[in-house]
């Protein structure tokens, strides 16, 4: 654990009045699952698009005895994840980890960890565009009325057009879900592979959109249903091969280009999951320490 800053910043950067405002928004978001609560998003010392919404939610939720994990597309090691982790190490002095099961608060950009989450864990999503209907209806006044009237036919038309054009629902990320049978919600640009993990999750899921100034939530044990049709049921992405490093199946894989001659490999997007499996002795076909690959 790092020594927290003793001067210059309040705990976790935000001032107390801002935290109270965000906290009240979070409480209403939990009471109305899937509804986007407007909040007075603050300017943060990082650009929009770097997770200012998620950072503000995390700052409002975080306590001194929390253990924070930050992932970006499943990885603990990319710039966004590293900067946000360091931000909270510096301004809150909280313990950080890369191990999913050790974290009490996990801030994520566009993935849900492969390791199943537990009760009392909090998953904070960074959200770029919280309104699932925004690309179908640009006017906020109209989308607000559509939510008020539960008028979501337009989204079904959009998915139907996918089927008409491609023969299947071609939406692969930010796949719209219905929360607790009422609100249509954007799960943030997570791959649709992760949608089933949101359903009846024991963890509390909070969503923060900084630029768009919205907070929304899915309480634990809440129905989160991906929209579909009877004859075109929702399906998750499937992969032909297991992870090339750890051999994991049934996980979300990233494509890695190896050379300019078409060489590529598919590896776990969740780095903690992959590392844990390799530490346990699991090997994939391109693992550097696999016996077949040793010279």
């Amino acid at each position: 654990m790092n020594a927290p800053l003793t001067s210059g910043y309040n705990f976790a950067y935000l001032d107390e009045q801002t935290k109270r405002m965000i906290r009240r928004a979070i409480l209403k978001a939990i009471a109305i699952p899937g509804y986007q609560v407007p909040f007075a998003s603050r300017e943060m010392p990082m650009p929009y698009g770097w997770g200012t919404g998620g950072v503000q939610v995390t700052a409002a939720v975080l306590g001194a005895d929390d253990t924070l994990k930050v992932i970006d597309q499943g990885s603990d090691d990319t710039t966004n994840a590293v900067s946000i982790r360091k931000f909270f190490e510096k301004t809150a002095g909280v313990a950080t980890t890369t191990v999913t099961s050790e974290a009490t608060v996990i801030q994520t950009r566009h993935r849900i960890p492969e390791t199943p989450l537990k009760e009392d864990q909090i998953l904070v999503y960074q959200v770029p565009i919280p309104e699932p209907l925004r690309f179908l209806e640009p006017r906020e006044t109209e989308t607000r009325t559509m939510h008020a009237l539960e008028e979501y036919g337009l989204m079904h038309v959009k998915l139907y057009e996918d089927i008409a054009r491609h023969g299947h629902i071609a939406t692969t990320y930010a796949y719209p879900v219905k929360v607790a049978g009422r609100y249509l919600m954007d799960p943030s640009p997570t791959p649709r592979f992760d949608n089933p993990k949101m359903h009846q999750s024991p963890a509390l899921q909070l969503f923060g959109a900084g630029r768009e100034k919205r907070i929304y939530a899915v309480p634990p044990y809440t129905d989160v249903v991906s929209l579909d049709f009877e004859d075109h049921p929702f399906e998750v992405n499937k992969f032909d091969k297991p992870c090339a490093l750890c051999g994991a199946e049934g996980v979300y894989l990233d494509e890695v280009i190896l050379d300019d001659r078409g060489g590529r490999m598919f590896v776990c997007s969740d780095t903690d999951h992959c590392e844990t499996r390799r530490a346990d002795g699991n090997r994939g076909e391109m693992s550097p320490d696999s016996s077949e690959n040793r010279p």
Binding site: N10, F11, E16, Q17, K19, R20, M21, R23, R24, A25, I26, L27, K28, A29, I30, A31, I32, P33, Y35, V37, P38, A60, V61, L62, G63, A64, D120, R144, T145, A148, L149, V179, A180, R182, Y183, Q200, P202, L204, A217, V218, P219, P220, Y221, T222, D223
Partner: protein, 197 residues
Amino acid sequence: MSAALKIGFENPVAQSQAVFRAVMMALARPGTVRRLDVPVDAVPALDPAAAAVALALCDYETPVWLDPALAADLQVQEFLRFHTGAPVTEARALASFAFVPLGGEVPALDDFAQGSLDYPDRSTTLVVAVEALAEGEGWRLTGPGVAGEGRFIARPLPADMLDRLQRNHALFPRGVDLVLTCGDRFAAIPRSTQVDA
């Protein structure tokens, strides 16, 4: 100004966070009883848990409605004014938070701010003190945050409280959110929860 102004939180930053987290988890898991694990030096008319909610969440942006007994209590007024700066309102429909002490009469839930269909978040959080609350018995709770079904009971509450909560839920996404406090213990029933006998 009375000399005996209670200090509220010793360490406002950490204690507000701890109280908020507990309230957040109470709302996220309706009907689960939480314990306030921070000391609160509060006026006697308010339950420690109710006072903690006020200290952690109220400020100049949140009009507060007080039960007549609380509103008449100078100590309560000074405590809230000094620590939170929240304006006290007599209009229930304008209140962000409302506090009812032990023995106070719980007003009709639809007297409070219900939010609109466009902005259901603009609604009152009602904090009611009770003598006893327990999970695992009593009303059947279902809905978001409840794994399968839960049981929860609090008393004393108005005889028609179950009916009121059912009507409150029927208004979803409008409606009020209820926090029940009992000394330093509390539980919540948000509007999303279906309550049955």
